[in-house]
Symmetry: C2
Subunit: 436 residues, 2 copies
């Protein structure tokens, strides 16, 4: 992809109302555009990241054996009344349609999925059932804020499981924990599994929390792996860990990137969701629900992986694998050679499935191109210039390396960059892409 043709540009000006690192950097780098508080358009760069996160989530859900469906955002009032959430869920968007009918905009989907499953599941033989969707949710947040972290419209993966016995629910709950660990790890997030309240229906639930100073939540945890949220923590920082009895309780700010909840019969009670058991008697179905917000994961990755120059995307969710920069004076004799090399590299990479963003702009200086590459944060940067071509090379630098020193010193810029022979580049990039 040629950057000169791509829609969405970097800007030096921070958005005036950006209250978080992810809102500022994603906006300045041209990944997202705010339509109003808590509501964003994904530009081509941002949509690529969001889709990569969704793909990772989808792969892990499919590996779990969950089946993908797609429920609507609009839903009728009645099921929300049955569960008490028409009046009880304060962030529920309500609207009126033709003929005075009242609808809710899905903030979550228990009210839709439970009656849906009820239509198809009648016998113990039909269980377990596990269904998920990746779909946009709506919440009437009084204070939408922090960019992609707390939006009014946001992407959500919601998984619902239906079981005959509590043992089966518990076993599945543990399998989901494994899938969630893989999802966050693959997205480059180090998420703590934090015990939280189970409400009135369950002893516990779990949140996945990523420690970062920009988090809204507080978690209490110990190096041994024990972690609980503020709501259920009874003690104080510095106490001996109640789990390992050795470590010390610490507290940190964190972002909740997912949660899992053994709903048990909370919603099957509301809708009377039963199946016929092996003995012919009705059995109330047990449920679990499991959420991850791909857009919030995207914001969290930025909160965790950035420096003063911009974002630093993990390879797995980066919009492109590689940022190719060409440097040459406009209309100069060398420009033809630089561009020819770049076209060959660009096309060869694309043929082998390596995604490359080529900054081919004629009207941007070297300094602007380097600053934009740092801001956009693609993990690998290759530079082709008169200097590198003189050595038969391209300059290779990973975004995670320190800042470039001022240019000079005979073509090699230092600061973590190195020269790679042009004939070796394809092979080296091919190897680099494979490393997790």
């Amino acid at each position: 992809m040629r950057y000169s043709k791509m829609f969405g540009r970097t800007t030096k000006e921070a958005p005036h109302d950006a209250d978080s690192v992810n809102a500022r950097l994603l906006t300045q780098a041209g990944f997202i555009n705010q339509l109003m508080a808590g509501v964003y358009t994904y530009l081509p760069l941002g949509l690529r990241v969001l889709n990569k996160i969704k793909t990772i989530v989808r792969e892990e859900m499919n590996t779990l054996g969950a089946q993908e469906i797609l429920m609507p955002a609009l839903s009728p009032k009645e099921p929300w009344q049955k569960t008490g959430r028409w009046d009880g869920l304060d962030v529920l968007f309500k609207l009126e349609g033709a003929g005075g009918k009242e609808y809710a905009l899905g903030a979550t989907h228990e009210e839709v999925v439970t009656p849906l499953v009820q239509q198809y599941i009648h016998s113990y033989k039909d269980l377990p059932v596990t269904l998920y969707q990746i779909q946009d949710k709506f919440r009437n947040e009084p204070r939408a804020k922090s960019g992609l972290l707390r939006g009014r419209e946001f992407s959500m993966k919601d998984l619902y499981s239906f079981h005959l016995t509590e043992d089966d629910l518990t076993a599945y709950y543990e399998r989901v924990k494994g899938a969630y660990a893989r999802i966050f790890s693959r997205c480059g997030l180090d998420a703590l599994v934090v015990e939280a309240s189970g409400g009135t229906f369950s002893k516990y639930s779990h949140e996945y929390q990523v420690i970062t100073d920009s988090g809204e939540d507080i978690v209490y945890h110990c190096k041994c792996g024990w972690a609980v949220n503020r709501e259920i923590f009874e003690g104080k920082v510095g106490d001996v860990c109640p789990s390992c009895k050795k470590g010390m309780v610490e507290s940190h700010k964190a972002i909740e990137v997912g949660n899992i909840f053994p709903l048990k019969t909370k919603y099957s009670d509301a809708f009377g969701l039963d199946v016929t058991g092996e003995d012919g008697k009705l059995v109330r179905v047990l449920m679990g629900c499991y959420g991850i917000g791909p857009s919030r994961v995207m914001g969290s990755v930025v909160e965790v992986h950035h420096d003063e120059r911009g974002m630093i995307w993990p390879k797995s969710v980066a919009p492109f694998h590689m940022h190719l920069i060409t440097l040459s004076n406009k209309d100069s004799e060398v420009k033809a050679r630089v561009d020819e090399t770049a076209v060959e590299l660009h096309d060869s990479f694309e043929r082998t499935g390596i995604e490359v963003l080529w900054d081919d702009r004629d009207d941007a200086s070297a300094g602007e191109k380097f600053a934009d590459a740092d801001l956009i944060g693609i993990p690998l940067r290759l530079v082709v210039s008169q200097k590198t071509l003189a050595e038969g090379c391209v300059e290779w630098k990973e975004r995670s390396e320190p800042a470039d020193p001022p240019p000079a010193r005979g073509g090699v810029r230092g600061g973590g960059s190195r020269l790679v022979k042009i004939e070796d580049v394809m092979g080296e990039v091919g190897e680099w892409v494979k490393v997790e």
Copy 2:
């Protein structure tokens, strides 16, 4: 995929309020589930079809060079007031959020995309720009009906193009026509390009209409390819064709599956979308918009491709390539051999990317399995049974062939079915899948 594990079952009962073939068949076959009038959940079979249609649309948009973005469904009131559609668009869903703010739910996205482009495009050098999204739209239809044909929430691909000159807009408009022809043809639809009114801003627009008796629209057309809609037709059926001057004007009911519209400056006027021209003066940007509804395409495919037994999916958008049926008495000695053959075939097909739905149910009769396969409408059906194994074969039948005659005649059922040696099946299916 084993049918016994799949969520969403066939039912013999037609939904009581199904007013169209697509609503009835898609519901009975377990592809979709109606939540309320005009609002459906996509079950696993239906979501597979919808996603295949979206993939075809996306591929053709990318081939056009259009860039994918994702705009939100929620939008503020102000841009809709600027274009006069806050009050003027009667199907616009409106809602109130925290703090009394009023929002619209996107029924279309000119009001979002025009101000968005305005933020990034400033010079003639930045044009043309072509952006698309595949996203769910909301329309407060007073009479939602006809299943997926006229919904309150539905999938839409909307493409917007921005140009410096009318010539450039016209040339792009013609290129989109080519892409649209490929999309409908790949989805198995024979769509007429129908001239329609251009409103006050343009001489013309075009609709893509699929002729079928269940259509709500009427098109007037001639075998030469000329076609216009009711709104602009001045004449009567039986007239000499105004285009070729030879053929005769016919009229038919039809479903609109897409439309393209040279908006020209309709929305750039509303928002003052200008760029600096080559001479330094401001130039008003010209726009085009181009829509296709993937969910409506799905409904239209069913309206066109079905018979009294069920749906007949084109290979390109079928939920699976192949429906594998095993027949054997429960716990019979032959069951183990039948299932073993089926597992081998199922796994071999999946390894080579051939999608197979295996009806492995123990509690369904042969008659039920055949009836369900006909209803679901997967294009190729393979049967493994004691009879076919006795000949070292599987039975091969395409869904487009006539109904099965009563079983008998030494294992070969006739009615378009034939026996294929087990060792040849993989190769034959591999060839069959490749044929368009």
